[in-house]
Symmetry: C2
Subunit: 125 residues, 2 copies
Amino acid sequence: MRIGDLAELAGVTQRTIRYYESIGLLAPGQREGHGHHYYTEETLLRLRKIDQLKRLGLSLEEIGEVIDLYFTDPSGIQPKQKVLVILRKHLDEAERKMDELQQFRSELQTHIERFEKFLNEAQYR
Amino acid sequence: MRIGDLAELAGVTQRTIRYYESIGLLAPGQREGHGHHYYTEETLLRLRKIDQLKRLGLSLEEIGEVIDLYFTDPSGIQPKQKVLVILRKHLDEAERKMDELQQFRSELQTHIERFEKFLNEAQYR
DNA sequence: TACAAATATAACGTTAACGTCATGTTTAGA
DNA sequence: TCTAAACATGACGTTAACGTTATATTTGTA
């Protein structure tokens, strides 16, 4: 498929795809000579994974550090120890964020309850 | 205290404090005429709360929408319904992020285990 | 009172992650 | 074959959240 279809299926703009290619996050689509680029299903999957990681708060640079894990078999990767370090770092951070989110959520709930109580009292007086 | 101490205690730069003042996230410190600004403990607490919310992924603009909740009593706030809406929005988002983080974490753990297994097998052969 | 250290203010710079033209080239279809 | 739609490439623009000078005041202290 070409860039227009890919963009639509992935829910991003063509500019985004080209930008990802320019920073090495995505391999440029195949092409013959100087014509258009053609992409496969795998690029689409990769774009979706990128989006998922983005929603988790990873920067494009961080995504670049782990994205290949999702598309290569373990025995093929070279600097394995380094990859392990990166994974553990992200794991720790994910757990920290979750803890803080828990705390934040209960604070929010407290505030909401306080407000609702106040509104009710004001209403029935 | 003056801006230097405040910055150090809060773990931010003076520039950050002035920037927050400029966008209305922080009230400028008191001063007589055209001299230096003086700050109180409350500004420090506010800076710390801002930092906490930032680490949760809220933008400064979003923080500006809820920060006053932490420093005003419920009966004093005017557009109460609107505040409730904002709180609920952030609560929903927090829960979504948590769900995705859970998923991400278990994926990470799977990958880590795969790598460790692979490394061990390579070691004992 | 003199002066170094801390502040105030203004203005230009920086990074990430694209958006938005502008212009030229390819490709599919009538 | 001709042409409109899609694509390629380049370059400048944008927003958030400050960083970094530069210059002018203000303050605490010897």
